[in-house]
C-alpha cells in the first residue's frame, strides 16, 4: 500500500518536475506572450 501511494504521488509530481523537458516551442511562445 505504501509503495502504491508513493508511485501515485511520483506520477502526480512527474509532469511538474519534467516540464522543462516536455514543453514545446509553442509553450515557450505562450509563456513569452504571458510574461
Amino acid at each position: 500500500m505504501t509503495l502504491l501511494f508513493a508511485t501515485l504521488l511520483l506520477f502526480a509530481a512527474g509532469p511538474f518536475v519534467l516540464w522543462p523537458l516536455i514543453r514545446t516551442p509553442e509553450d515557450d511562445l505562450e509563456d513569452g506572450v504571458r510574461g
Partner: protein, 655 residues
C-alpha cells in the same frame, strides 16, 4: 490506517525525488545543462511538496486521534487539550525530524527561487547539496524513525504527551528552535556550492548572509523562548543550566554571530573570504553534531527528549559532512587567500577579527564542556562539568567581547586616529560611572564589577551613535522626512546598534539575576508569613482541583495585594507523574518566584522562594535584539525573485 500508508508513501516518494534532485542537480551544474538544472530544482520543490503532504497527514492523524499510528499513541491521548495534540507533531523524535525536513524543504525552496543572481552553477550545486541533506533526513524517516509505523492492535487511548511538554511554551519554543536548526543548512549549502563552483566573490555573501540572518533570528528567538520556558516551567529558579541541549543550540548561534560580523569585512574590504566560508560551514557542522549529541543519548542531559537508535545515522552524516566540508576548504583554500597588506590591528576590520576569535573561543569552551563526558568516558572515568566551568572559562571571553562591543562601533575602517580616542570617552565614562556607583553600594564581586559596567558601556556607545545621528539630522534641517531618510540610508547600521542595545539590556538582566539572586526554603502554616529580600509573603491555604487530564494541588500566597498560586500537577494516567507549576510575580526590579514543594500532614506547606532581580530585562532586551535585526534587515534588499534560470528553447519536438 489509510493515513499511515499515505504518509509513508509521501515520505518514500519524497526520498526518491530528493535523491533524483541531488544527483541531477550536481550533474547538471557540472555540465552546465540549463534544462536539467531546472528539472533538478523542480524535483527539490516536489520533495518539499511530499514533505508537506506527509506533515498534513501526520497532523490529521493526531487531530483525529488515529491511535493505529504508534506515533499518535505514544505522544497524545484523548484528554490532552487539542492545541497540545497538534503540537505533538514535533513533540517526539520522528515527528520533530519530519518537521525539521519540512522547514528545510520550504525554506530551501524559497532560497532557490531567490538564487537567480548567483549563476547557474552555484544555484544548481546549492540545490544538489540541500537535496542531499533532505534525502538523508528522508532516509532516516523512511528506514529508522518513521512517524507512520502502524500498531498491530489499535488501543482505545494514547499514552499522552510528557507532562513537562503540556504547557503553552510547547506551542512556541520547539517549532522556532527546530526551524532555526533546520535553516542553518541553507547558508551552508550556498557557501559550499560557491566553493564547489570556485566563486568566492561577494555575490554569494549577500545571498548567504540573508539566510544566515534568518537562521540566526530564528535561533535567537528559539533560545530566548527556551530560556523563558525553562524559567517558567522547570521550577529551579534559573533559565540557563549549561545542559548539552542548551549548549548545542548556543554553539551554531555563536558561530553565526561571528559570521554576521565578519561578512561585513568581506563586503567592505574584500578580506576574510576563507574565514567566512569556514564560519558558515562550522555553524552547520555544529548543528549536525548537536543533533547527534542530543538524539543519540550518548551525553547525559536533563532533557530526556527523544533518545533513540538514530544516533549512528547522525554520526555517519556528521562524518560525511565533515569530510565534504574539510575537503572542500582544503581544495579551494588556495584561491581564498587575501592579497595585499594586512589590516591594521586598531581598525574596524581588526576589531571584527578579534571579536570573531573570541566568539570561536567561546564555541571551543562550550564544545569541550559538552563533549567532556564523552571523551573522559572513553578513558574509563566519565567527568561532567558544571556551570562553574563555563563561567570561569567563557566569562572572561564574554567580557572581552563586551569591551569590543563598546569600542568596536566607534573604530573606523582601515585605521583609527585621534577622533576614536575622543569618542571612546562615552563608553569609558559610562563604565567608570557604573563601577563607582556599584563600589559605593558595597559591591565587591569582580565579575559583577566588570559585567554590569561593561553592559552600560555598550549601551553608552549605542546612545552616543544615536546622539551623533540626531545631530546630523538637526544640521540637515530636522523634520520627520529627513529622519526617515537618514535612518533608511543606514538602516542596517542603526538596526545593528539597536540589537547591541538589546544585548546590553540582556547582559544587565543576566548579571542582576546571577549575582543577586536570593533563595529560601520554608515550611509555613496557613496565616504564617515569610520575608525574602524585603518581599513579605503570607501562606493562606491550599486546595485540590481536578482537571481533564490531571489534578492540581494549589497553594495560595499573598504578596501585597497579589495572590500567587504555585501548584503541583499530578497525572494519574501517566503513572502519577507530577510536575510543579511555578507562580511568578514580575516587575522591572525583580521577580518573586514561588515553587510549591508539597503539603504536609499538619496542614503546613513547603515552599522554595526565589527573588530574581532584573529577569524581565532579559526578555525585554531579547525582544529589542530581534526588533533591531528586523528593522535593520527587513527591507534591506528585496529577494531577486525572477525566473530561476535563463529560458532556453526546448529541443523536444523542435524537429
Amino acid at each position: 490506517m489509510i493515513l499511515a500508508y499515505l504518509g509513508a508513501g509521501a515520505l518514500l516518494a519524497g526520498l526518491v525525488m530528493g535523491l533524483f534532485s541531488a544527483m541531477l542537480s550536481f550533474w547538471a551544474g557540472w555540465s552546465q545543462n540549463v534544462v536539467m538544472v531546472q528539472v533538478g530544482r523542480r524535483a527539490f520543490y516536489a520533495t518539499a511538496a511530499m514533505l508537506v503532504i506527509a506533515s498534513v497527514v501526520l497532523e490529521t492523524a493526531l487531530l483525529t486521534h488515529d491511535f493505529s499510528l504508534a506515533y499518535v499513541t505514544e505522544h497524545s491521548d484523548l484528554s490532552t487539550p487539542i492545541a497540545l495534540v497538534a503540537a505533538a507533531f514535533y513533540g517526539g523524535q520522528e515527528g520533530s525530524l519530519l518537521y525539521w525536513a519540512l522547514i528545510l524543504g520550504l525554506l530551501g525552496s524559497v532560497a532557490l527561487v531567490a538564487s537567480a543572481t548567483l549563476g547557474l552553477r552555484v544555484a544548481a550545486y546549492a540545490a544538489g547539496i540541500m537535496a542531499a541533506i533532505l534525502s538523508f533526513f528522508l532516509v532516516v524517516l523512511v528506514l529508522v524513525a518513521s512517524p507512520f509505523d502502524v500498531l498491530q492492535i489499535t488501543p482505545p487511548d494514547g499514552l499522552g504527551l510528557n507532562p513537562v511538554l503540556r504547557d503553552g511554551g510547547m506551542l512556541i519554543h520547539p517549532p522556532v528552535i527546530l526551524a532555526g536548526f533546520a535553516s542553518f543548512a541553507i547558508p551552508f549549502s550556498f557557501a559550499a556550492a560557491a566553493l564547489l563552483a570556485g566563486r568566492s566573490d561577494a555575490a554569494w555573501i549577500a545571498h548567504t548572509r540573508r539566510f544566515a540572518l534568518l537562521a540566526w533570528g530564528l535561533q535567537s528567538t528559539g533560545l530566548l523562548l527556551g530560556m523563558w520556558w525553562a524559567y517558567h516551567v522547570l521550577g529551579w529558579g534559573g533559565y540557563w543550566g549549561w545542559d548539552p541541549v542548551e549548549n548545542v543550540a548556543l554553539m551554531p548561534w555563536l558561530a553565526t554571530t561571528a559570521y554576521l560580523h565578519s561578512s561585513q569585512v568581506q563586503e567592505r574590504r574584500g578580506r576574510l573570504r576563507g574565514w567566512n566560508f569556514g564560519l558558515v560551514i562550522l555553524a552547520f557542522l555544529l548543528v549536525v553534531f548537536g543533533t547527534f549529541i542530543v538524539r543519540s543519548g550518548i551525553v547525559p542531559s536533563v532533557h530526556t527528549f527523544a533518545v533513540s537508535s538514530i544516533g549512528p545515522w547522525f554520526f555517519g552524516f556528521l562524518g560525511a559532512c565533515l569530510v565534504f566540508s574539510v575537503g572542500l576548504l582544503a581544495i579551494r583554500g588556495g584561491t581564498l587567500k587575501t592579497r595585499g597588506e594586512p589590516a591594521p590591528a586598531v581598525s574596524r576590520e581588526g576589531a571584527f577579527a578579534l571579536q570573531n576569535l573570541l566568539l570561536i573561543g567561546v564555541v571551543a569552551v562550550v564544545l569541550w564542556g559538552t563533549i567532556l563526558p564523552l571523551v573522559s568516558g572513553m578513558t574509563g572515568q566519565e567527568r561532567v562539568v558544571g556551570a562553574a566551568y563555563y563561567e570561569r572559562a567563557a566569562g572572561p571571553l564574554f567580557a572581552a567581547i563586551l569591551v569590543l562591543m563598546a569600542a568596536g562601533p566607534l573604530v573606523p575602517w582601515r585605521h583609527a586616529g585621534a577622533p576614536l580616542v575622543r569618542a571612546l570617552r562615552w563608553p569609558a565614562g559610562a563604565f567608570a560611572l557604573i563601577v563607582a556607583v556599584l563600589f559605593a553600594s558595597g559591591v565587591r564581586s569582580l565579575p559583577a564589577l566588570l559585567g554590569i559596567p561593561l553592559g552600560a558601556a555598550v549601551a553608552g556607545t549605542v546612545l552616543y551613535e544615536y546622539f551623533r545621528a540626531a545631530m546630523r539630522w538637526r544640521r540637515a534641517g530636522a523634520g520627520w522626512a529627513r529622519a526617515v531618510a537618514l535612518v533608511s540610508r543606514k538602516r542596517r547600521r542603526y538596526g545593528a546598534y539597536l540589537a547591541h542595545l538589546g544585548l546590553a539590556v540582556v547582559v544587565l538582566g543576566l548579571a542582576g539575576s546571577h549575582f543577586w539572586q536570593q533563595e529560601k526554603d520554608v515550611t509555613l502554616q496557613p496565616g504564617q508569613q515569610v520575608s525574602v529580600a524585603g518581599y513579605s509573603l503570607t501562606y493562606t491555604g491550599s486546595q485540590v482541583r481536578q482537571l481533564s487530564d490531571h489534578s492540581e494541588l494549589i497553594a495560595a500566597m499573598q504578596l501585597g495585594d497579589r495572590t500567587l498560586q504555585p501548584a503541583r500537577a499530578t497525572y494519574a494516567s501517566l503513572g502519577g507523574q507530577s510536575l510543579t507549576h511555578v507562580a511568578i510575580s514580575s516587575s522591572p526590579i525583580a521577580d518573586v518566584y514561588v515553587v510549591l514543594a508539597g503539603t504536609n500532614g499538619d496542614g503546613s506547606a513547603s515552599f522554595r522562594i526565589f527573588v530574581n532581580p532584573l529577569v524581565t530585562w532579559i526578555w525585554s532586551g531579547g525582544a529589542v535584539i530581534i526588533l533591531g535585526v528586523l528593522l535593520g534587515n527587513a527591507r534591506e534588499r528585496r529577494f531577486a525573485v525572477a525566473p530561476a534560470v535563463v529560458r532556453v528553447p526546448s529541443t523536444v519536438g523542435a524537429s
